[in-house]
Every structure is written in C-alpha cells, then in structure tokens.
Amino acid sequence: MVEAKVIGKHEIMINADIPAPAAANLRLVNEQDADIPLTITALNKKDEHHYIATTAEPLSATDHYLLSSQANGMSVTLAPPFFSVLIAVIISSALINNFVFTRYLGLCVFFGVSRRRETAIGMGVTFSIVAVLAGFLCWVLNHFALVPLKLGFLQIIAFIGIVAALVQAAETIIKKVNVVLYKKFGIFLVLITTNCIILAIPLLNATAHAGLWEALALAFGSSFGFALAMYLMSCAREKVDMAPVPAIFKGLPIAFILAGLFAMSFLGFSGLKFM
C-alpha cells in the first residue's frame, strides 16, 4: 500500500518502498494541471519505508496531486485528509464566514429572535436540525434530478418546496408525538421558511458542485454558526436591554450597531487556515 502526503511547502512524504528504477521515473502532477509534471529535485530516504521528495514548485496542502511511476505502475493520489476537509468546511462556515456577520443572511430572524436567550436557543436548535435535513434532501434532489435533467432553472421552486414540505411534516409529526416539544419549538418551525439561510445553503452547494459530505458539513457548520451568533447576541441584548440606551437608539438601531461590533470582532477569524 502506497501512501503519500504533502508535509511542507516543497516536501512530500512517501510511505512506501521505492526501487531505484521507479525513483528515477517518478512523476508528480497537480490534478488540475495533470499534463504539466512538477519538478522533483531530490528524493531522500528517511528510513526503511519513508521517502521525502522535494519539489521545485511550491505545493499546497489543500490541492490534489498525483504521484505515479511508470516503472512499477505505482500511482497514488495526494489529497488533504477527508476529515480535515470536513472540519475545515465546518469551521469556515461557522466562524470565518459566519453567515450572519459576513454574508448577512438570516438577518430578519436573527434580529427578531435574538431578543431573549431562550427563544434564541430554541430557534437555534430547531433551525440546525431542519437546515441539515433540508440541506440533505435538496442535495439529493439537485444531484439526482435537477442536474441530470438540466432543470437548474427550477432550483428556487424546488428548494423552497422541500423546505416548506419539511417544515410542515416536522410540525405535524412533532405535534402528534410530543405536545410539550411542539409547544417549545413549534413556533420556530413556521419561521424557518422565512430564513434565507435555509435556502442559501442548498443554493451555495449547488453552485459549488459540492459532494454529499461537504454539503452536509456546510449545512451543519452554517446553521451552527447561526445558532451560535443568535445565542451570543441574545446574551448581549439582555444586558443592553437593562442599559440606559439613548431613546432614538432603543430597540432595533442598537441591535444593528451591536451586530456591527460583533461582525468587526469576527474579523479576527478572517484568513484563518488550518491546512
């Protein structure tokens, strides 16, 4: 089993025995430019089974590379680990590109519901569950029906339809199964249809041609980011409610300025890269 990964800006670690003829015939390409081989300047044996190849061109840990050798038919793909990609998507959509503070989505619900902590938590939880489910269903529909049939122009109707149906179904089911739960979360369910984030997730996934897991990660990350933003905002607004805010700023204006200050603090996450 051959394994390889990018370990530095110019270095690749290869986890295999490489016989001399194969070493001379190594070919490394970026998957995007598979016709242009990158220059391997050195291949050093680290220990029994590990080699380190040095390249002239800079490598990126997020790109996909192919390493092959015609001499022994070896061929291996260098890709960032699956889970770290997913975690990167989640962190990115929850913190770095938080929908509320950098893309300004879901603001109506954000300002409407973040007045009290309990409603914020209720909405956050309900929304996250529905968003992940809707993200999944929309992805399935888009991937297996809209794209192959070239019905992309029906995206908006199809996605809002799924969301509406899902919300309706969830409402009916919860009402039947657990009245207490319904009393607690039912009100938020009907609000979800007017939250643009729930629609933005599948639309963004469709534009990016995301795979299933990435689509789910985006749905989870962004709805978690939304819930977090709402929770923190509600804590702050409860404090502000007790402050002697000047009359003309009371209510929405101060909430907007508070959101602006939040957005400015979230700038600290900008440019964050874990890979």
Binding site: R103, C108, C196, I248, G260, A263, L267
Partner: protein, 209 residues
C-alpha cells in the same frame, strides 16, 4: 378594511411602514448588497417587481384558491416570480448579477412579500393590492438607494462608480460591520425625525427588534 387612498397606500410603504427601516423585514440584502448604489438599485428593482407581481397575482387568484393550501400557493407564486426575475436579470444585466445573484434568488425567503400577500392582497381588490405592492416595493427601493448611496459615498468616495471624493473617506462603511452600523444609524435617524415631529416613538419596528 375600507380602501384607503392611493397616496396613503404608497406613503405607508415608503415611510410609516418602510419594510427595512421600520418593519425590519427583508434585511439581509439591505445590508449585503448596498456596498454600492448600483447593486442596491438592481436588487431594489428586483424586489419591487416581485412584490408588485406577487401582490397582484395573489389578489387575482384569490377566488380560485382553496384556503387550506393558500400559503403553499403563495410561496409558489413568490418563487415563480423570483425565478423569472432572476433569469431575466441574469440574461440582461450579467455584470451586476454576478455580484448580487445569490441575493436575488433569496428574495424568495423575504417575509415582507409573503406577509403583504397574506395581510393585504388576499383580502383586497386588485387595484389597492397593486398600490400596496408598489408602496412596499418603493419603500424597499428607497431603503436600498439611501443605504447604497450613503455607503458608497462614505466608503469609496464615489456615487454610481463616479468618484466624488478623491480618497476613501471611511473604508469601514463598505465592510460587513459598516453595513450594520449604517442601517442602525439610519434607523436611529428615522426615530429622531419622529421625535422631532412630536410623535411618540412607534413601537412597531423599534420594540420588535
């Protein structure tokens, strides 16, 4: 509802129940695309069209709609007009559409459109519904123009891409945070005007936020 005059209907949308500054509905694009007046205008016009068309459709179709499925049908109508407007904009204004495309699609989740259909158009004849739609649409357009020009002027020193101030006076205004600040300050300004006019601060938008 005894049908109010055309002027009342339109002025209501523009000021007293301005969908952005008063009702705090349809906020996302109001912050997101108003980094320049041009973007704001395009989205404002898009919302205006969708609002008027949806209100009219709801009013026209009212006799044929089974009350049980009224809301799903309204959502469908909005989605229909949004998709149509989206495609038309994509075809004829590719340059601006590239920047605001996502937000045009998201008009479908605007609470304001659905709530006008539900609260007004489904209970009123066609003409008042049209006027109500026009009023609300214009109110949104006004908000977009106001915010867009303010942010573009302060943030990049230009209006509609034409340089007015040779430097960038306060770059902050075109950044995410600046959008929130600008809207918050304009809302405060609306409140201040009310206060000056001797009105009590309306609890409408203010208390609701």
């Amino acid at each position: 509802m005894s049908s109010p005059s055309a002027k009342v209907l339109i002025m209501r949308g523009l000021f007293d129940e301005n969908p952005v500054f008063r009702l705090a509905l349809s906020l996302c694009p109001a912050v997101a695309v108003t980094t320049s007046l041009k973007n704001g205008l395009l989205l404002g016009v898009a919302v205006f069209c969708v609002q008027v068309l949806s209100s009219v459709s709801a009013s026209v179709l009212k006799p044929f709609i089974n009350p049980r499925i009224r809301l799903p049908l309204f959502v469908l109508i909005v989605a229909l007009w949004v998709s149509a407007v989206d495609m038309i904009l994509a075809a004829y204004f590719p340059a601006i559409y590239a920047q605001v495309g996502l937000y045009v699609k998201l008009i479908v989740a605007f609470a304001i459109i659905l709530s006008r259909m539900e609260l007004f158009a489904s209970k009123n004849p066609i003409w008042p519904s049209t006027l109500d739609g026009i009023g609300m649409g214009l109110g949104f357009l006004l908000a977009m123009i106001l915010t867009g020009s303010l942010r573009e002027l302060v943030g990049s020193g230009s209006i509609l891409g034409i340089t007015i101030i040779p430097t960038k006076p306060l770059l902050l205004a075109v950044l995410p945070a600046g959008g929130f600040f600008t809207i918050g300050l304009i809302m405060a300004l609306f409140n201040w005007i009310d206060l000056m006019r001797g009105k009590k601060l309306s609890s409408g938008g203010g208390a609701h936020g």
